[in-house]
């Protein structure tokens, strides 16, 4: 059992303490990590990705080693990486320990849904790749974008607007974002507040809870796939989704429903918490406060 505890400590220990500028075959696990690698201009070193890495579109051409939390050790080794950069929670832990015993460098990057968190993520990925200058440049650009979002957020007079992020309307049931979600994080960065309080994660909410939450704006996302959008949002276009929202009595009764304030953004950009998060926060801010 002592060995187990030790292994755990090693796994949880400070990751990415050193850079790997020599790594030529990098496997990126986690959508935001992949996006950062591209933003750093280091995509030539990428040889694989996980299922959640869908941005930029050319990332989809890389071999997919599966879902980041259900990796197959041999599958990962078959693309012969010399460096793996993974978002927090990549696993299962057995797989990670086998990969480490095969001599593959493994860097785990923390995930937090706030401005500091994204910047730290950029720093960690740049450090793992051993490209500090490019990292600094991306860090500064992202920090400026985030600063712009913060400036707009601070300029809001009075109470920030309440935003309800609706993940899906499938089966006439509202699935919305509570605390501890990427949606909650980006709503705050955009200078608004999450209308759904006292709930963690993405949860189905009752009609009464929706009315109680009284959102000023309803936020939805585009999945870039008409069928998925039609299924989750009740319509493949913004207009159709808006109609679907307003057709639901509970949502229609909220301030957002009465004002027809249903906004929509690209899902990967909105929830990615990668290099585009600053821009996303500004874009979301403008959408939320468009009428006022």
């Amino acid at each position: 059992m002592k060995r187990l505890a030790l292994a755990l400590v090693l796994l949880a220990g400070p990751a990415g303490a050193e850079g790997h500028p020599e790594a030529r075959r990098v496997l990126s696990l986690g959508g935001s990590v992949t996006e950062i690698v591209y933003a750093l201009g280091e995509e030539a070193r990428l040889i694989g990705r996980d299922t959640t890495s869908n941005w930029p579109p050319q990332a989809n051409a890389l071999p997919d080693v599966g879902y980041v939390r259900a990796l197959s050790p041999e599958g990962v080794l078959s693309v012969s990486p010399d460096l793996i950069i993974a978002e927090e929670g990549a696993g299962p832990p057995e797989a990670v320990s086998v990969l480490q015993s095969a001599g593959v460098a493994f860097v785990s990057v923390d995930e937090r849904y706030d401005a500091e968190g994204v910047l730290d993520k950029v720093d960690a990925v740049a450090e793992a790749l051993g490209v500090p200058e490019k990292g600094r440049a991306l860090h500064d650009k992202l920090a400026a974008d985030l600063q712009a979002a913060l400036g707009r957020a601070q300029a809001v007079a009075g109470e920030p607007k309440k935003v309800l992020f609706v993940l899906s309307l499938q089966g006439e049931r509202v699935m919305a974002a509570g605390a501890d979600t990427a949606a909650d994080g980006i709503i705050r960065l955009a200078g608004a507040q999450n209308a759904l309080q006292g709930v963690e994660g993405y949860k189905p909410v009752t009609d009464e809870a929706v009315i109680e939450a009284a959102p000023d704006v309803i936020l939805m996302m585009r999945r870039g796939d008409e069928q998925a959008d039609a299924q989750a949002n009740g319509g493949s276009s913004h207009t159709a989704a808006k109609e679907a929202v307003l057709a639901m009595p509970a949502l229609a009764q909220t301030p957002a429903g009465r004002a027809g304030a249903v906004v929509m953004m690209d899902g990967l950009k909105l929830l990615g918490f990668g290099p585009r998060t600053g821009e996303a926060a500004v874009e979301l801010h403008d959408l939320i406060y468009a009428g006022s």
Binding site: A5, L8, G66, S72, E74, G75, S78, A95, S101, G103
Partner: protein
Amino acid sequence: MVAATPDLRPGRLEGDRSHRARRLGLFLALLLAVVAVISLGWGASGTSLARALSDLLAGRELAVQDRVVLLDIRLPRVLMGIFVGASLAVSGAVMQGLFRNPLADPGIVGVSSGASLGAILAIVLGGALPGWVAAFFGWYLVPVAAFAGGWLTTMALYRIATRRGRTSVATMLLAGIALAAIMGALAGLAILRANDRELRDLTFWGLGSLAGANWPKLLAGAPIMALALLYAPWLARGLNALALGEAAAGHVGIRVQKVKNRAILTVAAATGAAVAVSGGIGFVGIVVPHLLRLASGPDHRWLLVNSALLGAVTLLLADMVSRTVIAPAELPIGIVTAVMGGPFFLWILLRNRGVLDL
């Protein structure tokens, strides 16, 4: 013990298929050996068994990647596949014999529902445990919880169904359904609390996988499964007699209650350990014993041994598909067993409708 029982089969009868079952057993044992070797040389990465062997024979050191792939990834995985497949199939055969019900599988004694509840609780509430508990169990929290859940449920069910030293299989069947409903509700509550990542983990756990196979897990799970598998053939005579009904079995000198006790313990141990290390892998426990009954008759003396062999072969084949079909990613093995097993089983059933009288 054997001397006390009158021999019920004078000479070889017309329908006696034991010679066939024996030959089938030999064939399956050979097949298992072949499949295991192929499985060891088969995978997403470029590592080949032949190259590694020639390296070894030439006295060269194995490359790190070859060593890790063969010894730390494939070998424990192949062994795990053998034990898990054999356990699931034997458990299925024992349950069908004990309950005299062709639909029986280990799920009926609550092992599966209890194990999944244990796993779900560990995945969802694991984070809330005090640090030292988490550090003590480490990655083993989920398997340990699954095993405990399966075992506790089975024992509870057994106590419910046993009155005055007599276990009613009918009560056990019905109480099993009730307990499964309660477990399902508790699991639902836990799922409601789960966050996205935990939900994904739960889904993957439910589909089963041998991807987590490693030496520590194998060394923890295999002895339990091995004991249960070795004991199972001793249940054969009792199960054969039970096919006549409990009263008749008692009259031919079988201590029915003892057979029940041991059969339930065996299944709980084998399935509990199998589910704990590999998650929920369905269908093997139903398909394998029935195929063998069709091929070589219901005599448990052969059925149990052959089930173990065919179960192991089936799971190894399914795992080979699972780890290569969408490589470098992996298809959960539960999907493979159901997708391949379902239609195949249906086809066999349709062809043998006349023979089969369940």
